[in-house]
């Protein structure tokens, strides 16, 4: 009778003598266990905890790189809405700088830089008071960078068009900067940044005046 003992042993678990759990025993054990456990403090589980729990450390780098490549679009979208002082703000600035580098035409690059300057100004209006100076400083830097890019422009027609756009933007930004200035006169750090930004805008206006004075459409930058 080969394997009879095997079969009987397997079937043993269904009998009470084989340790089958009776309903009464099951209830007693359940009551004892669940009465002793304090379930009153459930914790919220976030995406970070889920990822941290399930991804082995040795794969975390590879998966992180993959997620970075594949998720860069989503990431860029998320980064786009951040303000100074927030976690992804550095990434946002880095993405914008990368965008600027890919613009080969200096006139176009000047426009893009000026566009980014406008974003800095909006951030300064929305950011916390402690984080606003960073946005204002970056605004001033972007305005100067726009001017610097325009100086490299070889095509006079494109340069003139870009200059015109920069001047329009500068006027618009001047108004916004005055709004940012309101209520900050007692904050020296912010005022210093605002003064630097105003100086950068004045430079744009000054160049525009020089361009208007030149005859024959010559661009004297």
């Amino acid at each position: 009778m080969p394997l009879d003992l095997n079969r009987e042993l397997k079937n043993l678990k269904h009998s009470p003598e084989g340790g089958a759990l009776s309903a009464d025993s099951a209830n007693r054990i359940r009551e004892r266990v669940f009465a002793s456990i304090n379930f009153d403090q459930p914790k919220n589980i976030g995406i970070f905890q889920i990822v941290n729990y399930f991804i082995p450390p040795q794969f975390a780098y590879a998966i992180g790189l993959f997620a970075l490549i594949v998720g860069s679009g989503f990431f860029a979208y998320q980064a786009n809405t951040t303000l100074p002082g927030e976690k992804l703000y550095g990434a946002k600035i880095a993405l914008e700088k990368t965008n600027v580098r890919f613009v080969s035409n200096p006139s176009e690059r000047a426009k893009v830089q000026m566009e980014f300057a406008g974003r800095r100004l909006e951030e300064a209006q929305r950011a916390a008071p402690s984080a606003a100076p960073e946005a204002i400083k970056r605004f001033a830097q972007d305005v100067k960078a726009a001017q610097a890019a325009l100086k490299q422009a070889a095509d006079p027609v494109q340069a003139a068009a870009a200059q015109k756009e920069l001047v329009q933007k500068a006027a618009e930004y001047e108004t916004k900067l005055q709004q940012v200035k309101v209520g900050r006169s007692d904050r020296p750090v912010e005022m210093a940044a605002i003064n630097e930004a105003e100086e950068a805008l004045r430079e744009v206006a000054k160049v525009a005046e020089v361009v208007e004075e030149l005859e024959d459409g010559e661009v004297g930058l």
Partner: protein
């Protein structure tokens, strides 16, 4: 699929202190753990008590963020139960038998060449008898037989739970089955002798 489901339940129980998730884990393992402990202690009352403790200890471990994560819940809870039984015997002043193994072997093929009709009838009608014979062999053998034949565990899983090598587990299974057969055969001889005597008496009256 079962493994993934278990991992999710463990995650919810440990990270979220989710009672429902722990309840599901409890439901999955209460019967096999009870059976395992019952065969080690021989007492339903002791088994109930120890099984309750095993699940409580498991919950406490899961929610303790300082403890390493449970990778294999099945092996973990069996180890907890096993350790509790060992401590139970220590407190009672009884020692668990230690088996020293010095050889490795193949998993035994269970064969019984005896053509005893009596034994056949006994196997089919009285599982209590088999359980009784199982209780008469050493705990180390019984533990491995229960995990292998009643709980369908692999040799590797049993090795993990009992903290032995796979080779040692195979040897234990082989020796355990031999011991069980010996108990059954000796018991069968006694029963046959008794029945023979009863048969002689009946013929005389």
């Amino acid at each position: 699929m079962q493994r993934i489901r278990e991992k999710l339940l463990i995650f919810r129980a440990s990270e979220g202190r989710d009672s429902k998730a722990f309840g599901e884990l409890y439901g999955l393992y209460i019967e096999p753990i009870y059976r395992f402990v019952y065969f080690k202690t021989g007492s339903k009352e002791d088994a109930e008590d120890l099984v309750s403790q095993a699940f409580l200890k498991t919950w406490e471990y899961l929610i303790d963020s300082d403890k390493p994560r449970v990778q294999n819940f099945r092996a973990f809870i069996y180890q907890v139960a096993r350790n509790l039984v060992a401590r139970f015997y220590e407190n009672k002043g009884r020692s668990h038998e230690l088996l020293i193994l010095d050889e490795e072997g193949e998993e035994p093929v269970i064969e019984d060449h005896r053509q005893s009709l009596f034994l056949d009838q006994l196997y089919k009608s009285d599982r209590a008898y088999l359980a009784d014979c199982l209780k008469k062999i050493k705990d180390g053998y019984r533990e491995v037989i229960v995990l292998r034949y009643l709980e369908d565990m692999s040799v590797e899983e049993i090795a993990k739970i009992t903290e032995k090598t796979s080779g040692n587990v195979r040897v234990l299974m082989h020796r355990g089955i031999q011991a069980l057969k010996k108990v059954i055969q000796e018991d069968d001889k006694k029963s046959y002798a008794i029945r023979s005597q009863q048969g002689i008496k009946e013929s005389q009256t």
